[in-house]
Subunit: 433 residues, 2 copies
């Protein structure tokens, strides 16, 4: 097991990177020329790591190093660097299933906790594109393909159970980042915590969530599902900040939160960030279209994503002819068996949908009332204004957690969005539930 920083570990700066890559000739060859010809740019954007983009005459590389603390919080919040090992292992494991929807990984340095991978250019982070009013219509289907393939092929539905067990033996050790999810997603937003960063006008909402026993009971179910439903290998942090896009390509990055868990977790996380983009959009650019049209794009994308996920997941399953323990073909032969197998497949996907909505709601709430806020809201600098779409998102998420029976399909989700648009700052006034 790779462990905490060792004697060889040192934090790379942009100035160190060319020499570092020069020591890896097979990889540096992708850059062309000599170290003196290379430019290196520090582009760290997320919360946890150093990221450098290196360009040479022949091409580019991305160098990502795990730091021994949470980058945005500083050295006061230590963080196990072995997450780089898990990100690398996750990438290796899902590569056969997701192909070019994930970046190519060229090298893993087990002493420096560095991953050298494909430089994505001119890709930009999906979140920034959304805020800027650039619509990327390929993304929902690409990410649906990614999640459908990864969540099917790493599950017991597509392999003898030993395959998932081997993943569990590895990723059960990725506790440092799972601790972040458990605390920041499922616990802190419903309690007083100095890590929470709450937009001031939302104090009443935060207080009402802390006092809402029904809501916390629903979140308890979500947390226990996260902790105990070991269905497939998950990305674990699949939001619009973990997706890089051009109009032609989609890449899912940053798999360091990987765990064996409930397949609905990644699905719900992705939808959550489209929902929040939908609520924030009136306060952003909407590009060449009106706010209303951009919102319609986002709503349609949510439907497109789920429908595509469902279709692809079922298609992988129906077409699967190998050995697997989840649904043994030998038990469901003949026409009656085939019909029942299809019923079981649809019931499985219906369960994923319910889980996904539950996690979607938890992810929305943590982005508004928790530590890791998102730019979709933060770019709205006036807190009195920012609080309005945030309150709408909270009201929507609360409704989904408290009344899941009202949200039986993806159409019900997007139909509900406008009903919470004017939720307002008083959590006791329910509109549209």
């Amino acid at each position: 097991m790779l462990d905490h920083p060792n004697a060889d570990y040192r934090i790379l700066t942009a100035a160190d990177v060319p020499a570092y890559l020069a020591g890896l000739p097979a990889i540096a060859g992708r850059l062309g020329g000599q170290p003196a010809d290379w430019t290196c740019q520090d582009v760290a954007d997320g919360n946890l790591n150093s990221v450098f983009l290196v360009d040479g005459p022949a091409g580019g590389l991305c160098v990502k190093q795990a730091l021994p603390y949470v980058r945005v919080a500083g050295e006061s919040w230590p963080m196990d660097v072995s997450r780089a090992f898990f990100e690398f292992s996750y990438g290796q494991r899902i590569a056969p299933f997701v192909g070019r929807l994930a970046p190519a990984i060229h090298h893993f340095d087990a002493a420096q906790f560095i991953i050298v991978m494909e430089k994505l250019s001119p890709h930009i982070i999906l979140r920034r594109a959304m805020i800027a009013g650039e619509h990327h219509p390929r993304v929902p289907e690409d990410v649906a393909d990614y999640v459908a393939a990864a969540s099917f092929y790493t599950s017991d539905l597509a392999a003898p159970f030993e395959s998932k067990a081997a993943d569990q033996a590895i990723f059960a050790r990725n506790t440092a980042l799972q601790r972040i999810s458990v605390d920041l997603v499922f616990t802190d937003p419903y309690a007083v915590s100095e890590r929470n960063r709450i937009t001031a006008p939302l104090e009443a909402w935060a207080a009402s969530f802390r006092a809402d026993i029904d809501l916390k009971a629903a979140v308890t179910r979500a947390r226990l599902t996260y902790l105990t439903r070991a269905q497939s290998l998950l990305h674990g942090d699949l939001h619009s900040g973990s997706i890089m896009v051009t109009q032609a390509e989609t890449r899912v990055i940053d798999g360091e939160f990987a765990l064996v868990g409930p397949s609905g977790f990644d699905i719900g996380n992705f939808i959550a960030h489209y929902v929040m983009a939908w609520y924030a959009k009136p306060f952003h650019e909407s590009g060449a279209t009106s706010v209303g049209v951009f919102r319609d794009h986002l709503a349609a994308d949510i439907v497109l994503f789920w429908d595509r996920f469902e279709a692809r997941f079922l298609s992988h399953w129906r077409g699967f002819a190998g050995a697997a323990d989840g649904l043994p073909a030998s038990h469901f032969s003949g026409p009656a068996g085939a019909a029942r197998a299809e019923t079981l497949r649809r019931a499985y996907v219906a369960d994923l949908f319910r889980d996904a909505l539950m996690f979607m709601a938890c992810k929305i709430i943590r982005r508004v009332l928790g530590f890791a806020q998102i730019a979709d809201f933060l770019v709205i600098t006036d807190e009195a204004v920012r609080a309005l779409p945030q309150a709408a998102a909270l009201a929507f998420a609360r409704s989904v957690l408290l009344y899941p029976e009202r949200y039986g399909d993806i159409a019900a989700i997007v139909a509900a969005l406008p009903r919470f648009d004017a939720a307002g700052l008083d959590p006791a006034v329910t509109r549209g539930e």
Copy 2:
């Protein structure tokens, strides 16, 4: 990771055991005297291992060695010897919670895959006691205490999630024995398999189970629950052959199937073997009492076991004051929070009950239609007679799997037992469902 037999590994015979123990002076001291004073008896009884009981002037020891094949099947069925490591690891992990309900383990030999442990004397295997008509009234409550403590304290309800994750990282590698459960419990009994050993008059029952789409759909749910519900560290093989008893003491042995899985699995397995003993009892001894009275003991024991499990599990949970991720105390403070926490605890236990019944039924079916038959039935040498209690057990198990809504509490389970007593050899004739 401990792996397959190495160059040092050799299979011990009874003649080798004294010299082996003489090489472990700290442990051999428990025997007293010299190797020449020790007697060694080969008492292998289960399906998988060599077991020797060694007696010296001062005391006794049990020496258990994992063989590289399934003992009852011979060398044609290879079996990873690292199961001894998992049995040892399981024992170490649960010892603080179960105390004297498990044997004391003195030594683990990682090269020879040998465990040296407390010799249980005059304890006998519970199954043999049941067949002989000896009632052991302490057993249900002792085993309930064991399962309640082990399944609570190794779950996310009683610790930060990292604790269970560490168990998963270890026991997810125990795939060799989990493969046995997946195949022999959940798959083979519903298919034609040369491993199945079916009492000849039950061919119609076996054929009807192979053709029963509803039953196989229910078994699919059970199998997926076994594979994906990672609630706590389980014994994994908790039947009447894994329990040694005197009138005063109960010991749970043979934890080599240990896995992180659904807590209902051990519960259901234990109940299943009381149910089968109940159906078989008219064909066994009943000791000093009538068959009817002994059956009443067994039925009462089933109720006692579940009621005690439920009470102890809830009591551990209510009294737990440490840090845990499953149900954070900070979310459920004050009178309303306390009331809701209790509701959630009861709902959790109700889910365990439903899982337990599902696994109970699967365990009954595998013991009748699968590879690993049990002495409770096998001692009935006339197959025409043996098939009758087996058919009753099958009919009962089928009903539980197909109509779980009829079995809402443990009283409903024991009330149903007599209704299937005369199920008979025609599976199409349903009586008492």
